[in-house]
């Protein structure tokens, strides 16, 4: 699964078609059982912020969540409707879909401490 994040933000969205909600739910439950992290990183084009965010996040994930995360990088320019649906205003925005609770992290992920708190990897 690690290789999933290797393609850069140029990857087209999540690469999945809209799945049936029940199916989604079941998948989510199965991932939850595995203790998997489902992460979506929304960026707006290849800006320095985007590049830094991707690099920083990759590093953090590899260090702390190796083997149990699922990261998608999405370019909002290509999926503007997603920006509305996911309530994205800032870029970059990282959404932790799982495990619950859902969290939003914005910025270039340069503050590792805050990223770890935001991802509930470390408590304050």
């Amino acid at each position: 699964m690690v290789e999933k994040h290797t393609p850069s933000f140029i990857r087209k969205g999540s690469g999945k078609k809209k799945a049936d909600t029940t199916e989604q739910f079941e998948k989510a439950v199965s991932r939850l059982a595995e203790g998997k992290y489902v992460l979506r990183l929304y960026v707006a084009g290849m800006t320095p912020n985007s590049a830094r965010a991707i690099a920083n996040l990759k590093k953090i994930c590899e260090e702390h969540l190796a083997g149990r995360y699922d990261l998608n990088v999405i370019d909002v320019y290509r999926k503007p409707t997603l920006a509305k649906g996911e309530q994205i205003i800032a870029a970059p925005t990282l959404i932790k879909k799982l495990p619950l609770p859902m969290r939003k992290l914005i910025g270039d992920m340069s503050d590792e401490g805050k990223v770890l708190i935001g991802l509930d990897i470390r408590t304050r």
């Binding site: 909002v76 309530q87 969290r103 914005i106 340069s110």
Partner: protein, 587 residues
């Protein structure tokens, strides 16, 4: 079509192109609307109507100017927003279905967001850009963008991003309305006026003596002339309504047409023809002098001519007015049923002064009456001070005059108070001023009517007694006795007395006539008796002359015979020697 309008606006006298907001009254005070293609800041405290202002700008744009709009809501979601503006008659769902309006709800929860370094608001830009492009929007609302300050902590980033956002909006060529909370000492809490500097409108919601009034003011408008006053506005069933100010001057057309007052004798007093059309008429009087009756008679006369009449009542409800006026033979209810009369009744204290005036404006704009009755305006002072009332009324009167509407105001004055000061100080705004007086004398009250002034016509200077009969209002001549006017029973008594005097006078004449006749007859009789006495004397005298002449003749003859006999000298007539003998002979 929108382009055509834009092109037209581009060459307006004001210099910069304007985008008509569609909000009634606003386009007049801004000289045509908001700056086209630029952002406008609408600032105000909570509950002053910012969101409605912004929404009406979009809805009117979509419906009336063919300009679709995007509403970015930071505070309410689309469903709540649609419900809130439904009361103004805005159907957001329908507009959205027709791709004329798009609502994008932006939710920012600080607790959900962790900031982990440098970021920008490109996500918002993309959403907005996508929304604008998807419906070809020409108008954008950001309500209230300051919510970003509550959701995000990095103010430096926010400020630079907002600056970029407004530049970007200008670049997009959309006319934008950005709402903001009012600050303590600044226009907006977060100083947005620094970035949105083209046009700033402040909305205000003030409560004075438990009565609230909304006001709007154009604080600045770069590159355009604009009104700087505060203008009251109303949020009614049809959106926002600002006092129209097109009629603020005195250069309206005047009419020479005259219309009846409904009281024939009052028409006579007003130069025989009644009021001028489009003039303002004030009737003042103490309680119970019949102001409402004069007002209703005028309203009735207007309806009889087939003209629409708006009757604003501050003291009585419509049904009560109808019932009361039926007692003097005026059936206003029938006119209301025919749709010629509309009665707008309400206690003055239910709303602020501006709200009342605005309501009248709105009603007159909607109903388009030829005659407006406001009964009474003095009650408005309950909800505003005199200066305010006068200012508002002069605007209202200007509005009526410029539309050729004849306005009839009644005003309650307090007994013993100088009418000049108690007439809400508006008498100078009035063209015709009727005064109803309650005259108390010898244990009764009577009503009197006179004309204090009536511009532009010869009018009677006399007081008339004012009677309410079951066939309407009647005016009577008032007799004057030893410098005092007599009314009511005093007038009746006076008339009785005059009749009695007349009768007595006739009796006296008869008596004198008879006496004179007697005198004449006496004279005749006396003349007769003198004549008789004189005739007797004359007879007597003639008799004497005759006998004496005879005797003297006889004596002369006798003396002649004796002389001849004695050969004496002939007798000299009247000879002295013989005289004693004659006299002796006579005796």
């Amino acid at each position: 079509m929108a382009d055509k309008k834009a092109g037209k606006a581009r060459f307006s006298r004001a210099g910069i192109p304007k985008c008509p907001s569609g909000i009634r009254g606003l386009d007049e005070i801004t000289g045509g609307g908001l700056p086209r293609g630029r952002p406008t800041l609408v600032a105000g405290s909570a509950g002053c109507g910012k969101t409605l202002f912004a929404m009406e700008f979009l809805v009117r744009g979509a419906l009336e100017h063919g300009e679709p709009g995007v509403f970015v809501a930071f505070e309410e979601n689309a469903r709540d927003l649609a419900q809130n503006v439904a009361s103004l008659g805005f159907d957001l769902a329908d507009l959205a279905a027709r791709k004329k309006l798009l609502v994008d709800y932006v939710s920012i929860e600080r607790t959900e967001i962790q900031e982990t370094g440098e970021y920008d608001l490109e996500g918002l830009f993309i959403r907005l850009g996508h929304a604008i492009d998807s419906i070809g929007a020409k108008r954008v609302v950001l309500d209230t963008i300051e919510s970003l300050f509550a959701g995000l902590s990095n103010e430096a980033i926010l400020r630079s991003e907002l600056r970029r956002l407004f530049r970007w909006l200008k670049g997009k060529g959309v006319t934008a309305v950005i709402t903001a909370e009012r600050g303590e000492s600044t226009i907006t809490r977060h100083g947005l006026e620094e970035y949105v500097a083209d046009c700033v409108i402040m909305l205000d919601h003030r409560v004075t003596e438990q009565v609230s009034t909304r006001r709007a003011r154009v604080v600045k408008y770069r590159g355009s002339r604009h009104e700087t006053n505060e203008f009251p506005f109303l949020i009614g069933d049809h959106g926002i309504f600002l006092v129209p100010v097109t009629s603020m001057g005195l250069d309206y057309e005047v009419s020479t047409t005259r219309i009846s007052t409904g009281i024939p004798r009052l028409d006579t007093m007003l130069g025989g023809k009644g009021y001028y059309r489009g003039s303002s008429i004030l009737v003042t009087g103490t309680p119970g002098t019949g102001k409402t009756s004069v007002a209703s008679t005028f309203a009735d006369a207007a309806c009889r001519r087939g003209e629409r009449c708006l009757y604003t009542a501050f003291e009585e409800g419509p049904e009560q007015i109808f019932r009361n006026m039926r007692s003097i033979g005026i059936d206003l209810g029938a006119w209301a049923a025919k749709g010629l009369l509309r009665v707008h009744a309400g206690r003055p204290t239910v709303a602020g002064l501006e709200t009342h005036i605005l309501t009248m404006h709105r009603l007159s704009d909607e109903f388009k009456p030829k005659v407006v009755v406001i009964d009474p305006i003095s009650n408005l002072t309950e909800v505003g001070n005199q200066v305010d009332v006068k200012a508002m009324l002069s605007r209202l009167i200007d509005h009526f005059k410029s539309n050729g509407v004849t306005a009839f105001f009644s005003s309650l004055v307090t007994r013993g108070v100088n009418e000049e000061t108690s007439g809400v100080g508006i008498s100078s705004l009035m063209d015709t001023w009727l005064q109803l007086e309650d005259l108390e004398k010898s244990g009764e009250h009577n009503r009197g009517l006179f004309i204090l002034k009536s511009r532009g016509m010869a009018h009677s200077n006399q007081i008339r007694e004012f009677l309410l009969t079951d066939r309407g209002i009647d005016l009577l001549d008032v007799p004057v006795s030893s410098g005092e006017v007599l009314m009511g029973s005093a007038r009746v008594a006076m008339e009785r007395r005059e009749m009695e005097e007349d009768r007595q006078g006739r009796v006296e004449i008869d008596r004198k006539k008879r006496l004179f006749e007697l005198k004449r007859r006496e004279k005749v009789a006396r003349v007769d008796s003198i004549e008789t006495g004189f005739l007797a004397e004359a007879e007597d005298f003639k008799e004497y002359l005759r006998t004496e002449t005879n005797r003297q003749e006889a004596a002369r003859k006798t003396r002649g015979a004796l002389g001849r006999a004695r050969k004496a000298d002939p007798v000299r007539a009247g000879g002295n020697a013989k005289k004693p003998a004659v006299s002796r002979g006579r005796r």
